[in-house]
Every structure is written in C-alpha cells, then in structure tokens.
Point group: C2
Chain length 212, copies 2
DNA sequence: CCTGGATCTTGCCAGTGACAAGATTCTCAC
DNA sequence: GTGAGAATCTTGTCACTGGCAAGATCCAGG
C-alpha cells in the first residue's frame, strides 16, 4: 500500500458523513475515522487541526450543497416568485431529510460556537439567497405590509424549525401523522400562506443515499 | 466537611446549567462538575449514570420550566385565544433567550437520540399544551381552513426555529437588526398573521439571570 | 540529484467516562 | 438504641480520545 493515502481529506469527510448518519455526531472521533480508513491515529491531524475543524468543513459543504439544491428547486418551480420562494424552503427541508449528516453538522453547537471565515461566508451566502427569494416574492405582491428583515427571519426560522422537526423521530412521533412529506408540504403552505392547490415538484436527492 | 454533600444532585444540575451557559455544552464534563463542587470524580455517578443522563434531566427540567413560563405568558395575555396562542410562542422564545442552558439541552442531539420516558413525557406535555392553544385559537376562528396537525407542526417549527435563530449570535449577526426582542415580536406577528397593533406583555425571567 | 514541503507514522501525555470495590453516613424497622 | 441495609461518596483502575512532538516517507521543482 502506498505510504500516501492519496486523498485522505476527502475520504475523511466522506467517512465522517457516514458515521454521523449512522451513529450520530457524538460517535464521531478522529481516531475512529483513522481506523476506518486504515491510517495512523494522527494522520487526520495533517488535514484538520481538531475535531471541530472537520465538523466546520462538513457544515460548510452542507451549506453549499443545500444551497445548490435549493436553487435547483427554485428553478424547477417555474417563474412565479412565490412558488420559487416556497421551493427554496421546501427543498431545504428535503435536503435535511436526505442528508441528515450535513444538516446535523450545520446545526451542531460546537460548529456554531466556532468562528470560521469560510463557514461564515457559506452561511451568509445561504441567507443571502433566501433574502433574494423573499425580496423577489415581496416585489411581486407577497406580504407587502411586512418588513423584509422580518420576513427573512421568519423564513429562516420556519425552514430551520421545520427541518429540525421533520428529520427527528423524537418529534415526528408526537405528531399524529404518518406521511412526513405530506406534512412538510402542508407546513410549507402555511409558511407561504397559500392554499394547497399548487404543489411544486421536489427533486430527488442525494449525498447520503448515494453513499449508502 | 460533611462526608455527604447534602444535595449533590441539585447542585450538579445547577452547576451544569452555569457551565453550559458560560462555556457551552461541549465544555460540560462530569469530572469538571465534581471538581467545581469539591467532590470526588466518581461522585456524580451515584446520581447520573452517565453524561447523557444528566443532559436528559436538564432537558426535562427545561421542558417543564419553559412550559410553566409559557402558561404564565398565556395567562397574562388575557382571554383572547389568538393572543394566548401568540403568547405561548413568544414566551417560549423569551425563555430560550433567558435560559440558553436549558434550551441547548433540549435541542442537543445527544439528548434527542436518547429514549427516556420522563423526558418523552415532558416533551409530550409541552406539545400537548401547544396543541391545546392551537385548537382553542382555531375554534375562535383562527385559520379554520388548515388541519390542526398542520397548524401544530407549523407552530412547533416556528417556535423552535425562531428560538434557535434569535438565541445564537451566529445567526443574529447575519440579519440587519439591532433589537432582537423587537424582531422576535415581529416574527411572532407573522406567525399568528396579525397586524402589529397589539403586543402582549412579556414576563420578566429567569433562571440564568437568577443564578448569575 | 537533492532539497524543501507535504504527508504520514510512532510515541507520548493529560483529560474523560465508566466500572469495581470499599468506606462512610443515613434510614428505619425492631 | 441498635443493627441491617440502602444511599452516598472515595479511591483505584482501564480503555479511549485529542493533541503534541519528533522522525520517516513521499512528492515536486530546480
């Protein structure tokens, strides 16, 4: 076997995503990843200063990929600004369901407490896209009486909250529903405050499923 | 010094809340708590099987206290069902801001992944109260066209998402606002979909401030 | 070839959680 | 009271983790 692993950094990120998806973020250890990949226990140190740095990188990638997916969802929703806005949120929830590891990394306290310029940039880009969606929707007549910043905060809160609620069985169990996807659709309809007549298509995903 | 600490369990929970509020949940260690309280490193083991058990207990207390605070808020909001519903959500956000340690415990993945009957009961009671608020509000004419379960999920998501957003500087920094409380009020107004004419009073809290 | 940098290994240390065995204190039936 | 048993706490130990340091190996460019 080659002394160099070849692409250890990528392999670490991939393996970490698998571990998180299967056994949760608390079960993620640098030494465990090293064992899984057949390298020495200090090898990850060459690519990630510490555990937190790896999680931050995962979160950064998570923001980027979710953003891509949200934009694709908006594109698939057609020209109507409100439908596009709804698709942004719906796609984010879908992404969270399909990629629990990235979603958990994004929302993990250890990641949020850390200041990382790249990560902050990724988060800002995410919010900026949502802001644009809100602005365009509002320009087309959607809730003109509400301040943009308020609508943006509401949108972020609704997206994050819905995603957290519907990706965790601890919460879905307390609701009297069987079809989580349908509930997500309904909740998103309440968020955009429209009748349930037009449901935008949801793209198929993704990372977790691909690696499975 | 007495061999028995007297009330180690309570002291551990209190000390844990302080540590979480000051340095985050990741900095919480059983041995560290033992040192702070001047007992041996294995003393906490008599009251909590492991770190997770302590976090679950904190989360349970968090649900109970937040629920008390929400009910008090609803009571203070007067007889109007929609105003009471709004007060439930607004009070929860306020509680999260005033008691970050409990809020973080409630939403920590390590806690959510664990099955604990007491904790599950506390969570169920929390959801039940919100459900009752939704039902009464709907009975008074609020959004009769939407299914109860959908409104409930939307309400939970909005409350949790808003709380998470407004208690974390990582998120508040990306918004163009200075008054977080005013933003919380505005967002809650969007949630209940009312004009910003009547703002219910917010009770003073809290746990963290008391212990500070 | 050979030199510097990137990558990886081995070895080490302190801190943590968890367990076991024993000491101390409390509770309560008798 | 008093003695048995439960609750509480201590000491000791082990495996595991993160992090650091020093050195070995590989790679790229002059």
């Amino acid at each position: 076997m080659a002394y160099h692993h070849g692409n250890l950094k990528e392999a670490l990120l991939e393996c970490a995503a698998d571990v998180i998806a299967e056994r949760g973020i608390e079960a993620l250890t640098l030494r465990g990843l090293a064992r899984d990949l057949g390298v020495s226990h200090a090898a990850p140190g060459a690519h990630f200063a510490d555990r937190r740095a790896l999680l931050c990188e995962l979160a950064k990638v998570g923001f980027q990929r979710s953003l891509e997916f949200m934009r694709a969802g908006a594109e698939a929703a057609g020209p109507d600004p409100v439908a596009r806005y709804r698709a942004l949120g719906r796609s984010y929830v879908q992404f969270a369901q399909d990629n629990p590891s990235y979603f958990r990394a994004i929302n993990h306290p250890e990641v949020e407490a850390h200041l990382d310029d790249d990560l902050r940039g990724a988060r800002a880009a995410w919010v900026a896209t949502l802001r644009e969606g809100v602005e365009v929707a509002q320009a087309s007549g959607w809730h003109p009486e509400i301040e943009v910043e308020t609508l943006l905060a509401f949108s972020c809160a609704a997206a994050m909250g819905t995603a957290q609620l519907l990706t965790d069985s601890v919460w879905t169990d307390v609701f009297d529903v069987d079809d989580v996807d349908a509930l997500a659709d309904s909740v998103l309809d309440v968020v955009v405050h429209r009748s349930r007549t037009s449901v935008v298509p949801i793209l198929e995903e993704t990372e977790e499923k691909r690696s499975a």
